[in-house]
């Protein structure tokens, strides 16, 4: 079973700005192996930007990302992916023109080695690889209970299912760290329960470290081991769900935001 281990990902003094607008200011926190780490905060607090810094979509002006002891001034998405960081997206970023199977198969991309010519003639290694990875993808499809839609282009799926496919694509990478950007936004209660179950199962069965952004406080408090709170790009709280819940600055930020 899962047992929270050492620090696997450490963020130190991250500052990020677009033009003159500061998105993140001097933020530091760490993520331990096998834990579920949540990032919360009001709208515009910089949560998504934080994830984008972790997997290299945005490049911070200051600070560094330390992944398993390797220091990165700037991550890039390809290196992040190679290092085992996968993510899902807040606004859906699936490949709309492709079927569910193909979407999830793209997640196996880094593990496929056949070159273009082998693929073009569909012979030897290329054909074997397609088969092997297809089997793996079918496992994920079974796990997420989306067998019935495997051939459907994702553009035609309802929102909740698309979110599942998004998760499936990330899982296909067999990540060590999984970044989830509001996996339950816009879902009804039943769908949220399903999704929570999947997240916990992933964490449990595969021991995947999870970094999660979520708005639904109930969900966050249930799922996560530790929580970081951001407000206007600054860190205002960090600790166990209970500690965060009682942090006066956090309360102020949330009350302020709700007014």
């Amino acid at each position: 079973m899962r047992e929270i281990g050492d620090v696997i990902l450490d963020l130190r003094g991250i500052s990020l700005s677009f033009g003159g607008v500061k998105a993140l200011t001097d933020i530091s926190f760490d993520v331990r192996e096998h834990e579920v780490r949540a990032i919360i905060g009001p709208n515009g607090a910089g949560k998504s930007s934080m994830l984008n810094v972790i997997n290299g979509v945005y490049r911070p002006q200051q600070g560094e990302v330390i992944l398993r002891g390797d220091h990165f001034k700037r991550m890039d998405p390809y290196r992040a992916a190679k290092a085992g960081i996968a993510r899902t997206f807040q606004s859906l970023a699936l490949f709309k023109g492709m079927s569910v199977i193909d979407n999830i198969m793209t997640g196996r991309n880094l593990k496929m080695k056949a070159n273009l010519f082998q693929q073009a003639v569909w012979w030897g290694m290329a054909a074997r690889e397609e088969l092997a990875h297809r089997a793996k993808v079918e496992e994920i499809i079974d796990f997420l209970e989306i067998q019935h839609i495997r051939k459907t282009p994702v553009g035609r799926l309802p929102y909740g299912l698309q979110k599942r496919v998004d998760l499936g694509r990330a899982l296909a990478m067999e990540p060590q760290i999984l970044l989830l950007d509001e996996p339950m936004a816009g879902m009804n209660v039943e769908e949220k329960q399903d999704m929570s179950r999947f997240i916990l199962d992933v964490n449990d069965q595969f021991g995947t470290t999870i970094v999660l952004i979520e708005h639904d406080m109930g969900v966050v408090m249930d799922l996560s081991d530790r929580v970081v709170v951001l407000d206007y790009g600054r860190k205002i709280g960090d600790g166990s769900p209970d500690e965060v819940r009682t942090n006066p600055e956090v309360i102020k930020a949330y009350l302020g935001a709700s007014h």
């Binding site: 677009f18 998504s48 984008n52 979509v57 997206f89 807040q90 606004s91 970023a93």
Partner: protein, 309 residues
């Protein structure tokens, strides 16, 4: 030195003429997100209408004065362009709201074919003349400064002036009139504009009409320079690098882009061309635009593209 200045001035004036065509692209793209490949065909169509009406009008009405005939033809051609704008909105754009950019671009290619077919079929496919009294002979200036002076092409000079005036007028139209403000609102955000009660369909007719009128002016100037015939549609290809360089959404961009491209291609052809056999100006203009793009992917004055995830 004198020759360099001459080339430079020639380039600037050619650039203004490109701007005139580029302006049509920018207007439509700004307001409807359509990259209008039919702009060249619009120029041809408008010029054909102008040329033929000014030829036919004296016969129809007995007007003798060429000035009156020209004015009448201008009005008639303007009406034709209005009809074109209205039909395009009615039959085409209305059915393609929220389609992808590539689809819209293809549609305008279809419209271009249609306009070229109708224009040639209805107005004829010979070479026609637009005579609005543009001076054809050159003048020499600064003769006491340089030996032989600097040659200025009077026709180009007047054309450049008209282009500048037109840009000024359009800017005023956008800034000062209610319609102009509505157009700007639509350009910024379709849905928001619609939600405050701006009728999108009417705006599109207006913007295509304005683009049609710009095409008419461009058609008259180019037509008076080159004669009105099929190749007029190809001036659009010369204006493309201008639009790209200046940014698809910027009116000043179309002007500055035009000047840069005009000067760039003339200087390159005159000073670089002889070493490589000449005829380089077309691709040089595109390469120039491309080099700018590599540094500013959205063009000089275009809105910055930010990826959001």
């Amino acid at each position: 030195m004198a020759f360099f200045l001459e080339t430079l001035i020639g380039g600037l004036m050619a650039g203004m003429l490109y701007s005139l065509v580029a302006l049509g692209f920018v207007l439509i793209y700004k307001a409807s997100g359509v990259f209008n490949f039919a702009q060249g065909a619009l120029v041809l169509f408008a010029a054909l209408a102008m040329a033929r009406f000014s030829e036919w009008l004296p016969g129809w009405t007995g007007i003798d004065s060429p000035i009156l005939a020209n004015i009448g033809a201008f009005v008639l051609a303007g009406l034709v362009m209005f009809a074109v704008a209205w039909i395009i909105e009615r039959l085409v754009l209305r059915h393609l709201v929220n389609q992808e950019g590539a689809t819209l671009l293809m549609v305008t290619l279809g419209i271009a074919y249609l306009l070229e077919g109708i224009g040639q079929g209805f107005f004829g496919n010979d070479i026609y003349k637009i005579d609005v009294g543009m001076p054809k002979e050159p003048v020499m200036v600064l003769e006491n400064m340089f030996e032989g002076g600097i040659l200025i092409n009077k026709e180009d000079f007047i054309a450049a002036l008209i282009a500048a005036l037109l840009v000024g007028a359009l800017t005023l139209f956008f800034q000062k009139t209610a319609t102009g403000r509505a157009l700007r609102a639509v350009a910024d955000d379709h849905q928001a504009a619609q939600s405050i009660g701006i009728p999108l369909n009417r705006i599109w007719v207006i913007i295509w009409l304005v683009a049609g009128l710009v095409a008419l002016v461009a058609g008259i100037i180019w037509g008076s320079k080159l004669g009105v015939q099929f190749s007029l549609a190809t001036v659009a290809l010369r204006a493309l690098p201008v639009v790209i360089l200046g940014g698809l959404t910027s009116v000043p961009g179309a002007i500055v882009g035009g000047l840069i491209i005009g000067v760039g291609e003339k200087l390159s052809e005159v000073y670089l061309g002889p070493y490589v056999g000449g005829g380089i100006e077309i691709w040089f203009a595109y390469m120039l635009a491309l080099v700018f793009l590599l540094f500013r992917p959205q063009g000089l004055f275009g809105e910055k593209i930010i990826d959001r995830v």
